[in-house]
């Protein structure tokens, strides 16, 4: 038994919070991926884009106003996402912890009937992505981590970073984690928000999940590999 709480604070409501915050981040990722592809337009275009992000809406908004709005929304989304994930995970562990040792002693069929790799890795994958975001901000936003040399130009930071093979490797691992996370996550968000109510809806949701995770993973990985192979600049 756990404490009785109203439906507003139920597992289903928390899960809906996780779904909505996740979808906000997916929306941001699509925009971000689009922005990254501007490295192919050269230094001037890329740096102007970065500068433009900071001056959009002026004078209505202060400098970097829109950027800060996006940052606040993203920060709120991340906090909501991680909070609900942690609360629900703790609950799930409690619900399946019986006696000592593993839940089932049998060593057969550990993957059950049909559990997918993507659904298995959701929680640890999420942790990896979270750590990556911190690393990534220190790398390309603040430039405290600057392999290949620091620079005031965002374009040069990106080029310097991905001139190093091990940085490309780090980003590849992170984006594969993002891909797996979204393969299950997008489908799960659809389920949670009540969109899976027929066989056809289920197929569409699965197609959407594969498409979004594929587009985001590949779209983000194009610039690093292009830079590593010297096709940019």
């Amino acid at each position: 038994m756990t404490k009785r709480v109203g439906a507003r604070r139920s597992t289903v409501a928390l899960k809906a919070l996780m779904a909505v915050s996740g979808l906000i981040m997916v929306g941001y990722l699509l925009l971000h991926m689009y922005g990254n592809l501007k490295v192919f337009s050269g230094q001037v275009a890329f740096d102007e884009y970065s500068h433009h992000l900071r001056t959009i809406g002026e004078p209505l908004l202060p400098e970097s106003g829109l950027l800060w709005i996006i940052r606040v929304v993203l920060l709120a989304a991340i906090i909501a996402h991680v909070y609900s994930a942690v609360v629900l995970t703790v609950r799930d562990r409690k619900a399946t912890r019986t006696g000592s040792g593993p839940r089932y002693k049998s060593k057969q069929n550990k993957r059950g009937f049909q559990r997918s790799y993507a659904s298995f890795t959701l929680r640890w994958g999420g942790v990896i992505i979270f750590l990556f975001i911190i690393f990534h901000l220190l790398n390309l936003t603040t430039n405290d981590i600057a392999p290949g040399g620091a620079s005031a130009s965002p374009y040069e930071r990106v080029l310097n970073t991905f001139g190093e093979w091990y940085m490309v490797l780090v980003y590849t691992i992170a984006l594969l984690a993002v891909g797996f996370h979204l393969r299950h996550g997008v489908w799960a968000a659809g389920m949670t928000l009540g969109a899976n109510t027929s066989v056809k809806a289920r197929r569409n949701l699965n197609v959407l999940a594969y498409a979004l995770s594929g587009i985001i993973t590949i779209g983000f990985l194009i610039p690093p590999y292009a830079i590593l192979f010297g096709w940019v600049g």
Binding site: M1, T2, V5, A7, R91, T98, S106, G194
Partner: protein, 248 residues
């Protein structure tokens, strides 16, 4: 055929419990899984040992009383109830692990028997309709679209066995709860209590300590009645709708 079974033995709720192995030399492939255990129990009784406690009633796959985790799978390798599983699903020489449903909301009573009273309390929290008594209304006054009738019937075949909880890596009882929500929510008689039903049942589900659904689908795969996963999406939709309308 010859097989070895490793069975969870636990004398009472506070006993720690352990897996105990038994060899069976003469098992017919036509036996049902529970008959195999009956034969073993006869032997144990003759040898003066405590027979293995397990639940069953109808033994024809309709009451939902039986349920064992066999080789790590709820109701074993086939999509059916444990009582409808036969030894022909196994091979000579197999070692078969037999364990009870595992969920902190289904405490073990003895050996393979668990207390599933939590399901009854979820039903009491809204899994019904309040029908006025009196003479039955003219049936044709209440048309039900064929599609809704089919979906409602499909959901109504849930026998409350609890395999969904045993199979779910989160120990969630969402499939069971959602089967009731779908069954009643798709029929006209279920409409007046639709919001209070989902609010009450989800609240009770959580209060019982069941886990949260992460849309894995193991429940559906284990369910002997094939209750589809989209029932859970319907439950989510009903709950979010009820909250949005300020019914909580």
């Amino acid at each position: 055929m010859k097989i070895t079974v490793r069975v969870w033995r636990q004398a009472n709720p506070s006993d720690e419990g352990k897996m105990v192995g038994y060899d069976l030399d003469d098992v017919s492939e036509h036996m049902s899984f529970l008959e195999m255990l009956d034969v073993l129990n006869e032997r144990l009784t003759l040898e003066g040992e405590e027979p293995i406690a397990f639940d069953s009633d109808c033994r024809e796959g309709i009451c939902g009383m039986c349920g064992l985790v066999i080789n790590g799978l709820a109701h074993g390798p086939e999509r059916t109830t444990t009582c409808q599983l036969h030894m022909r699903s196994f091979k000579d020489g197999d070692v078969i692990d037999i364990e009870p449903w595992r969920s902190s909301s289904f405490p073990v009573v003895k050996d393979l028997v668990v207390d599933r009273g939590a399901f009854d309390r979820i039903i009491q929290a809204g899994g019904y309709i309040s029908a006025p008594t009196g003479s039955a209304p003219e049936a044709n006054n209440l048309p039900v679209p064929k599609e809704n009738a089919d979906h409602a019937f499909e959901a109504a075949t849930c026998i409350g066995c609890g395999a969904c909880v045993a199979a779910c890596p989160n120990g969630s009882a969402m499939l069971f709860t959602a089967a009731k929500i779908t069954h009643l929510g798709l029929l006209p008689q279920g409409q007046p209590e639709r919001a209070s039903r989902v609010l009450g049942m989800v609240e009770q589900h959580d209060h019982e300590g069941f886990g949260n659904c992460t849309n894995i689908g193991e429940c559906t795969a284990a369910c002997p009645k094939g209750i589809p996963l989209d029932t859970i999406s319907r439950l989510n939709r009903d709950l979010l709708g009820a909250l949005a309308k300020g019914k909580a």
